[in-house]
Structures are given as structure tokens and as C-alpha cells.
């Protein structure tokens, strides 16, 4: 028998559900169809990752669907390369190179990200495992975004129930430079439920969305919401994958997207000493 969920756990799960059910703003990030779990890259480990998404059935004009710039989403290949390093047992740092290949065109630079992500306490210390995510983004304008620089913050929430992991990443984005600089904070989400069936192959379902500014939501039809049934697991030599097909749920969403993420972790050497066993932030 699983430990019965206490009132605090249920409260946190309700909050988590409410956060992902809210009409959410902020652009969906098509370079990263990934839901972050609570766990971080272990100290001294480097993770090499590539996230890829192809818009099979998208929109014919820029600024619609997954496109935030002048280039249309139809036929677009989003391609990101990421290196993540475990600074401590609870904090990781990452750099991203985002590329894009519009239909009928070559692969080109679309932006870069710098990210810090951490987890608070150890698993099972809180009723819901909590982490944080802070990212600075640069975009190539006007082709792939209308904002030059953005700051993104996400609380990361995870609850494991048996072999089920329920994860939610509500997203809060602020434009630092470019169009929308004077606007408020956008709100979006990435969320998922993963079932640990077998190391090599497990199922899950992921959700991504965004619908504008917190204080000025876009009309429902102009918001973007996607559901991705996924399979994930580990291939030989520790290569991890996540493959999914995404269906747009609103008129503004792209209609059909295929994503394929690959990652590989290796120990490269620790720069900082081990985190205290019962610490909570570092």
C-alpha cells in the first residue's frame, strides 16, 4: 500500500493542478518541449542534450502557432543543443544554442539561453518536491521572436505516487528588451505525467501552453495549448530519449508537431565540494 496522501499533499497537488489549468500566457518554447523534473544533474556530471521538434502541420504566417517571429511555423525544424553541468548536488547550470530550419531554407541561429536550476531539500522532505528554474534568453529578431531578451522563472513541482511522477512547471516570463518590454509578466506552463514502466521504454503524457499576459489574457482561440503523448527511456550506453507527438488544442496552436529529445550524462569532474546531506538549497 502506498502511504495515504495527507492533507498537505492533496493541497499542493490541487495547487499544482490549478497552476496548470489556469489560462496561461507566455509563448510555448518550441526549442524545448521538455518538462523539468525535481531532480537536477548530479554534481560534477555534464549532460549533453539535443531537443528537436518538427512542425508537421502548422500555420502559413509568422506570429502564429509556435512562431513568435516573422518566419512561419509550417514545416519548421526547431533544434536546440544544451550542455548542463551539476555545480552542486542541488544546483545545475546550462547553456543552450537554439537553431531553426524554416521550410525550404537552411539551418540558422535562432537564439541562446543561459539557465540555472535547482532543487530544494531532499526528496520526500516536503509533501511535494520543489525546485526552481531561472533562465535568460536571447532571440534572433525579427525572424524567430519579437523580443530580443527575456527572463524566465519557473517553480518546479513534482509528486511521485508509486511509479507515477506528476510534474508541473508554471512559467513566468518578462521581456527585458524588444517588443513587449513595457508589458507585464506572461504566464505559461509545461506539465507532465510519466509512468516508470521499464528503463528502456515508458509512457507519459505532457502538456505545454501559454496564453498571454497574466493581467491581460489572450482570447481562448489565440492561446496555444498542446498535449503530447510520449515514450521515454534509456537506450544502450546511457543515451536517454523522449519521443512524442503533439496535438494543438486551440485555433492558434500548430496542429501537429513531432518532438525527439536525446540526452547523455557523463561525469566530467566536480568543481565544488559535496552538498551537505540534509541541506536545502546548495
Amino acid at each position: 500500500m502506498l502511504r495515504p496522501l495527507n492533507a498537505a499533499s492533496l493541497g499542493c497537488l490541487a495547487l499544482l493542478g490549478a497552476a496548470t489549468a489556469l489560462p496561461c500566457a507566455a509563448q510555448v518554447d518550441p526549442w524545448e518541449f521538455e518538462v523539468y523534473p525535481y531532480s537536477t544533474t548530479p554534481r560534477g556530471m555534464a549532460e549533453f542534450e539535443t531537443d528537436n521538434a518538427v512542425v508537421v502541420d502548422g500555420h502559413p504566417a509568422g506570429g502564429e502557432g509556435t512562431s513568435s517571429g516573422t518566419v512561419r511555423s509550417q514545416g519548421m525544424l526547431y533544434d536546440s543543443y544544451e550542455i548542463t553541468y551539476g555545480l552542486t548536488d542541488r544546483i545545475e547550470a546550462a547553456v543552450y544554442l537554439n537553431m531553426a530550419q524554416p521550410e525550404g531554407s537552411g539551418l540558422q541561429w535562432a537564439g541562446d539561453n543561459l539557465r540555472l536550476r535547482g532543487r530544494l531539500f531532499d526528496q520526500e522532505t516536503l509533501p511535494v518536491d520543489v525546485g526552481w528554474y531561472l533562465e535568460l534568453e536571447w532571440h534572433k529578431v525579427p525572424q524567430f521572436d519579437d523580443a530580443t531578451r527575456e527572463l524566465e522563472f519557473r517553480p518546479i513541482l513534482e509528486k511521485d505516487i508509486g511509479r507515477l511522477s506528476i510534474m508541473a512547471n508554471p512559467k513566468f516570463e518578462k521581456v527585458l528588451a524588444g517588443a513587449g518590454h513595457d508589458d507585464g509578466v506572461e504566464f505559461g506552463y509545461a506539465a507532465g505525467v510519466h509512468y516508470r514502466w521499464a528503463r528502456s521504454l515508458s509512457p507519459g503524457v505532457e502538456f505545454y501552453g501559454g496564453s498571454g499576459l497574466i493581467d491581460r489574457l489572450d482570447p481562448a482561440a489565440q492561446q496555444s495549448h498542446y498535449v503530447f503523448p510520449v515514450v521515454w527511456g534509456e537506450l544502450p550506453r546511457g543515451l536517454e530519449y523522449n519521443f512524442g507527438v503533439g496535438y494543438g488544442l486551440t485555433r492558434n496552436s500548430d496542429h501537429f508537431i513531432v518532438k525527439f529529445n536525446l540526452e547523455l550524462e557523463r561525469f566530467v569532474g566536480a568543481m565544488l565540494k559535496a552538498s551537505p546531506d540534509r541541506g536545502w538549497i546548495f
Partner: protein, 111 residues
């Protein structure tokens, strides 16, 4: 998966890999030395939260990992880490060293 888990339990029992531990304890210890975990089978009480202290007595860096339990921790040579686990449903839960695929996989048996 269930058949695999049963096979692991049977093989470990036959090979005397089972733990001589107090099933009702809440803190357990798994040591890593001579390129293997000891005990390889750890029996714990089901439905009770527990902690596992993973002690790395070897000169190798290991990553204590359990897929079913969603746990993953690097353990430096000579170091000890604590892995907290929720109350487990009765059954078998894998653990292994993700850095060394040749290290025999262990199992936590909750009953």
C-alpha cells in the same frame, strides 16, 4: 517486469545475497565495496517510510540509482549519502550503479 523482478529475487535468495537486517528498522545501510553492493537484497517493511544510507567503501565513484523508486545519487569514494524513500507498496524495487553496468543489480524487497 514482474517476472523479471521475481527472477531477481529468486536468484539473489539462491546466491545467499539476502540481507541480514532488521526488517522493521527505518534506517538501512547499503555498502559498496569490491565492485558490488552489500547487501544485494535488502528486505524492508512495506508501508513505512525509510532511509537508506549508501556507503561507498571503494575507490570508485558510483551513482546509486533506482529506476522504480526514481532515485539517483552520486557517491564519492569514502562518502555516505542518505536516500529517503516513501512508504513502499509490497514488491521488489531495483537499485544499481549507473556508472558501472557490470556491477550486479540489487533489489529492495518491501513486504
Amino acid at each position: 517486469m514482474r517476472i523479471n523482478s521475481l527472477m531477481v529475487i529468486c536468484l539473489m535468495t539462491l546466491s545467499n545475497g539476502s540481507a541480514d537486517t532488521d526488517v522493521n528498522a527505518k534506517v538501512f545501510e547499503i555498502r559498496f565495496e569490491n565492485h558490488r553492493f552489500a547487501p544485494q537484497t535488502l528486505t524492508v517493511a512495506a508501508n513505512t517510510p525509510l532511509e537508506i544510507r549508501v556507503v561507498n567503501l571503494s575507490r570508485e565513484r558510483i551513482e546509486f540509482e533506482s529506476f522504480k523508486l526514481n532515485r539517483e545519487k552520486v557517491v564519492e569514494p569514502g562518502a555516505t549519502v542518505t536516500v529517503k524513500l516513501p512508504a513502499l507498496r509490497a514488491g521488489a524495487y531495483d537499485f544499481f550503479d549507473d556508472f558501472h553496468p557490470d556491477v550486479p543489480e540489487g533489489a529492495i524487497i518491501a513486504k
